[in-house]
């Protein structure tokens, strides 16, 4: 379904839920829309939608929509994208993840269980936003699902790994935050001076590696 959003953007709605297969279709369509026609400015994938920004001095809505519909006909189930896979080292608990204990207690499991459950599955970067480079990843195991905290913290440290509802994410910058903080990664998610400023891209597949298990390889970074 294609709808205008204002006079300079077009919203493609492929569904209405958080669902890995649906989100893969969004990223597949987004991939088909790279190398665009003149007047298409940029695309923003989200859970089940893709927003296409266009220049109304170059294209009408109908022209932009026609181009998108044409690309959508190439979007069938046989179209497979191979996502990038990234491993993210995480130091869980203590000062790195001050909410690990709280999460464990309220879910009736041990902190070690939280670490194991959080790090054993692969997540998809469904979309990015909030602050530059923040990946919204899912889907979290049901045993870890918690609502956001009631009063957001005014300062969460860059690199903090967090969970909320069915999602997990990492704060790229020191910023306020309302998610449960369970760990910290030494990886830099956003470096505006770098050739590749962002560690993640929408559609990537991510696996967390608990740092404890790497301790013997001296990969532990000091905070």
């Amino acid at each position: 379904m294609l709808k205008p959003l204002g006079d300079s953007a077009l919203l493609v709605q492929l569904g209405d839920e958080i669902n890995p297969a649906l989100n893969q279709r969004v990223h597949a369509l987004n991939a088909l829309l790279q190398n665009p026609i003149h007047g298409i400015l940029e695309t923003v994938p989200a859970y089940s939608t893709l927003l296409i920004h266009y220049d109304p001095l170059t294209l009408t809505f109908d022209q932009a929509a026609h181009w998108v519909r044409d690309k959508m006909t190439q979007l069938d189930d046989s179209f497979h994208r191979t996502p990038r896979r990234l491993e993210v080292p995480v130091r869980y608990g203590n000062a790195s993840g001050p909410d690990l204990e709280t999460v464990a207690v309220s879910k009736g499991i041990s902190p070690a269980d939280v670490i194991r459950i959080h790090s054993e599955r692969e997540y998809t970067v469904y979309m990015m936003g909030f602050t530059p480079g923040f990946p919204y990843m899912g889907t979290l195991d049901e045993r870890l699902i918690m609502p956001r905290i009631a009063t957001p913290r005014t300062l969460v440290k860059a690199g903090t790994v967090a969970i909320a509802a069915s999602q997990t994410g990492i704060y790229p910058l020191d910023s306020p935050g309302g998610w449960h903080l369970i760990g910290w990664t030494p990886l830099k998610l956003f470096d505006p001076t770098s050739e590749t400023p962002f560690l993640f891209s929408p559609g990537d597949v991510v696996k967390f590696i608990p740092l404890e298990s790497l301790e013997s390889n001296s990969l532990l970074f000091d905070q």
Binding site: K3, P4, L5, G6, D7, S8, A9, L11, Q13, D16, E17, I18, N30, L41, E42, T43, V44, P45, A46, Y47, S48, T49, L50, L51, H53, P56, L57, T60, F61, M127, M128, G129, F130, T131, P132, G133, F134, Y136, L173, S175, P192, T193, P197, F198, S201, P202
Partner: protein
């Protein structure tokens, strides 16, 4: 080359080019000017390129001293430009001699002024743009003591001086504007009453506004008590949004997304301000303005935008 020394600033004074394209899918806002028309007009009078860097002066004032002869232009509304005892008009380029002091002073009737220099200001490019985005650490606010550099003017200064931009022919700045909008993709999530309240009410800009978004307050009326009611309380999944997107949270008070808006948001969008009218909304003052919305068709919105852009077509020789 060295052009201006910053003597004093208050409020939010930043460099802005035409915006940062191509990074919204990574969560980086577009940024750029709050009032794109005033920004573009400043560059147009000075024969600068469309995306040359201009100083945006918001929610405060700024004072400069010229380090060499230059031509400046100040656009926007709600400000005056003072050089000792003389007042320079806005929307007209003027010659400044080395050593002169120029002050951009806040009066009433607007929020944002744009100070352009022939040649354009120089600023560091981050992610392909020189626009400042403070929350993301892209660039920094301009402070007293800063020395500002500029590029080479497009032509000799005398020929760039005393050019007037006929703003009143194109943009009717007002504190009681009727802002045109296009229906949003989630208008059907609101009750019929909610939609009527949205279009039938008057608003003023709330005191909590910034470059990211304008919170609007419904002015008291028989229908405004409940705010803009939604038919469903079901969450909307976060999705892309754009300049002028009007989100309505559960409290029923709309928020219009502005230059530093996040690329995505999760509240239903009842409507979207058209590009041509964004400058009118940007210049509405907190507590003073009386704002109304009127729905128009997409084609008309795009025609309005094209017409406005013709204002800049032929820079006068």
């Amino acid at each position: 080359m060295t052009m201006l020394e910053v003597l004093d600033v208050s409020g939010l004074v930043t460099f802005q080019d035409s915006g940062r394209r191509g990074w919204q899918s990574y969560g980086v806002p577009l940024s750029g000017p709050m009032d794109w028309f005033a920004h573009r007009a400043a560059n147009s009078m000075l024969n600068n390129s469309t995306d040359a860097v201009v100083i945006e002066i918001g929610l405060g004032e700024a004072m400069f001293r010229a380090k060499r002869d230059c031509v400046l232009a100040v656009t926007g509304t709600g400000f005056e430009v003072v050089n000792y005892i003389w007042t320079f008009p806005l929307w007209t380029s003027f010659y400044v001699r080395a050593g002169w002091r120029v002050q951009v002073k806040k009066i009433s009737g607007g929020n944002w002024a744009y100070l352009g220099v022939a040649g354009g200001f120089e600023a560091q490019s981050m992610l392909g743009s020189k626009s400042t985005y403070l929350r993301g650490g892209l660039g920094s606010a301009i402070r007293a003591g800063d020395i500002l550099e500029a590029g080479k003017p497009a032509r000799e200064l005398a020929k760039l001086t005393a050019r007037n931009f006929p703003v009143e022919k194109f943009m009717n700045y007002s504190q009681s504007p009727v802002i045109e909008v296009i229906a949003g993709p989630q208008q059907d999530r609101f009750t019929e009453e909610g939609v009527q309240t949205f279009y039938g009410s008057e608003y003023t800009l709330s005191k909590s506004f910034d470059r990211m978004g304008y919170r609007l307050e419904l002015l008291p009326s028989p229908s405004s008590a409940k705010g803009i009611a939604q038919a469903t309380s079901a969450d909307l999944l976060s999705e892309g949004m754009t300049l002028g997107s009007i989100q309505v949270p559960d409290n029923g008070q709309p928020i219009v997304m502005m230059a530093d808006s996040p690329a995505t948001g999760g509240y239903p969008k009842i409507a979207n301000v058209i590009r041509a009218d964004l400058p009118l909304l940007a210049q509405c003052e907190a507590g003073v303005s009386k704002i109304q919305f009127r729905e128009i068709m997409l084609e008309e919105a795009q025609e309005n935008f094209q017409k406005l852009n013709k204002a800049f077509k032929t820079p006068k020789g």
